[in-house]
């Protein structure tokens, strides 16, 4: 069995979901598998739809891999984007991210 680490998604209404995400999976995949509401992920992780946006808690921002050009441009067109926005399909779970906290925007479309 793969190792898994914790991630906490907080909905716009404040509801918290702490889930296990297997190492190497994207945080989006973890959220979808655990029925976290508000992560639409229409394209299934191909970085083609920008519907899995999350806001990264400031404590964790420095621990993430940098955005690719593609993620950057997809985020340009997502609604409600903030400086700490990321696409959760592009964030891979690692030991360093164990315990990461992410907030979910009010809408993805």
């Amino acid at each position: 069995m793969k190792r898994a680490f914790k991630a906490t998604f907080i909905e716009d209404n404040g509801v918290r979901h702490t889930i296990d995400v297997p190492e190497g999976w994207s945080l989006m995949e973890g959220a979808v598998k655990h029925l976290v509401p508000g992560i639409d992920a229409d394209c299934g992780g191909a970085c083609a739809c920008a519907t899995c946006q999350v806001y990264i808690d400031p404590d964790w921002a420095g621990k993430l891999a940098a955005k690719t050009d593609m993620e950057e441009t997809m985020l340009d067109f997502a609604p409600l984007v903030q400086p700490n926005s990321r696409l959760s399909c592009q964030l891979r779970m690692t030991e360093a991210l164990d315990g990461i906290v992410l907030r979910i925007p009010k809408q993805q479309h």
């Binding site: 995949e29 029925l35 229409d42 394209c43 299934g44 083609a48 340009d76």
Partner: protein
């Protein structure tokens, strides 16, 4: 009494419908019937990361088992629907069971078009549509093997790219004069053809397949009047909509189940969504789309109509393909008469082709240019006029195309 909804077809559209029915407040029962062994899964990665071995099977599934349990959706897998009795409002299943319904949703998807030439039934000739198809292909898909790919569409070229990466000797046979001819402009075809050749793939354009030979297993492909030795063959020559069940039930069909803008068939209690439908596109033209976008959006619209909140479907279609390190993203539907405007230089492996119609953007194809794609998609939806010269001018940021 609580209403019963039945969904036939356990794919992307079916899964979306379950989610949307519940989020739109449907409280009755839902049963979903699927003829594969698996609950709904993503098909796009099958010819990409899954074939490459970079995505393990559990990651293909669109929802967890818990999702269906929580949604109160009964999954009836490994069984197909064999007949719809519209008067009695029942669906007969292959295992002898009968399901009654108040409303029915058909998300039956498509099936691969098969070659009919001599030798087409030989073992070692593969198609790619399901997990089982890829798992069968994997055993022969080994380094050094000579693979003939029939058809240079999305599936054929994605498999060619994976094959080249994994050290197979790849030859692609295409009857038309360019690759992805149905999907992209000539400039884009030329770019992708060159990329495949650079990766070591042999491309045989204008080369129709006449047959296969082999004793007990495919050993040669006959194409363009020549014979080529092969170890395996992958055929990707398109998909037909699964409308047989609907047709047999007397529903209007025409290469696909005909639906209106609310995803309703000619029977007001039967809806259809995804690859299996023929619908009116946003431009008023009847079409059948094979893509994730249509599966998702049409399923959402079907769910809305089924719970009595119909909304007209007019979303901009979008598509993507991953080949090597190239991400091709397409929005809108091109026509041969469109005016083409290129932005960026293919030599930089990052460019796009905009299709203009009546001064507006009708479609965009972008390679490694997500911004052009996303802007294009937005402008297609908004239908605003854009000057061709501004599109081609890289000194104008794509965000400022209108202005």
């Amino acid at each position: 009494m609580s209403e019963k909804f039945v969904i036939i077809g356990a794919g992307q559209a079916g899964a979306q419908a379950v989610q949307s029915l519940r989020s739109e407040g449907f409280t009755g029962s839902i049963a979903m019937v699927g003829d594969e062994a698996w609950p709904p899964y993503q098909r796009p990665p099958l010819s990409k990361a899954y074939l490459l071995g970079q995505l393990e099977r559990p990651r293909l599934f669109l929802k967890s088992d818990a999702f269906y349990a929580e949604a109160g959706c009964e999954l009836l897998l490994n069984t197909s629907a064999t007949a719809i009795d519209r008067a009695g409002r029942t669906v007969a299943l292959g295992d002898g069971r009968k399901l009654t319904y108040d409303k029915l949703l058909l998300t039956t998807g498509g099936r691969v078009r098969k070659l009919k030439c001599p030798g087409a039934e030989l073992p070692g000739i593969f198609y790619l549509k399901t997990i089982a198809d890829v798992d069968a292909l994997q055993a022969a898909f080994v380094t050094g093997a000579r693979i003939a790919i029939v058809g240079a569409g999305y599936i054929g070229l994605e498999v060619a790219a994976v094959g080249a990466k994994r050290g197979l000797r790849v030859t692609v046979f295409e009857a038309m004069d360019r690759v992805m001819a149905r999907a992209v402009s000539p400039a884009m075809s030329d770019f992708f053809a060159a990329e495949h050749v650079r990766a070591g793939v042999t491309l045989k354009l204008n080369t129709g397949v006449e047959g296969f030979e082999g004793s007990g297993r495919v050993e040669r492909i006959i194409a363009g009047g020549r014979k080529y030795d092969v170890d395996l063959v992958l055929v990707g020559i398109g998909v037909t909509g699964n409308d047989d069940l609907a047709r047999a039930a007397g529903l209007a069909c025409s290469d696909g189940i005909v639906v209106d803008r609310n995803a309703r068939t000619s029977d007001p209690d039967i809806y259809a969504a995804g690859d299996c439908t023929r619908h009116h596109g946003r431009e008023g033209i009847e079409l059948r789309l094979e893509c994730v976008q249509n599966a998702i959006d049409q399923a959402k619209h079907a769910a809305l109509a089924m719970v009595g909140k119909p909304r007209d479907y007019s979303e901009v279609p979008w598509f993507w393909s991953d080949q090597y390190d190239l991400k091709l993203q397409i929005a809108g539907l091109a026509r041969p008469t469109d005016t083409l405007v290129q932005r960026g230089d293919p030599a930089g492996r990052k460019f796009s082709v905009f299709h203009l119609r009546d001064g507006k953007i009708a479609a965009v194809e972008a390679v490694n240019a997500g911004q052009d794609y996303m802007i294009g998609r937005k402008l297609i939806a908004e239908g605003k006029a854009v000057e061709a010269a501004r599109i081609a001018d890289l000194s104008i940021p794509v965000k400022n195309l209108i202005g």
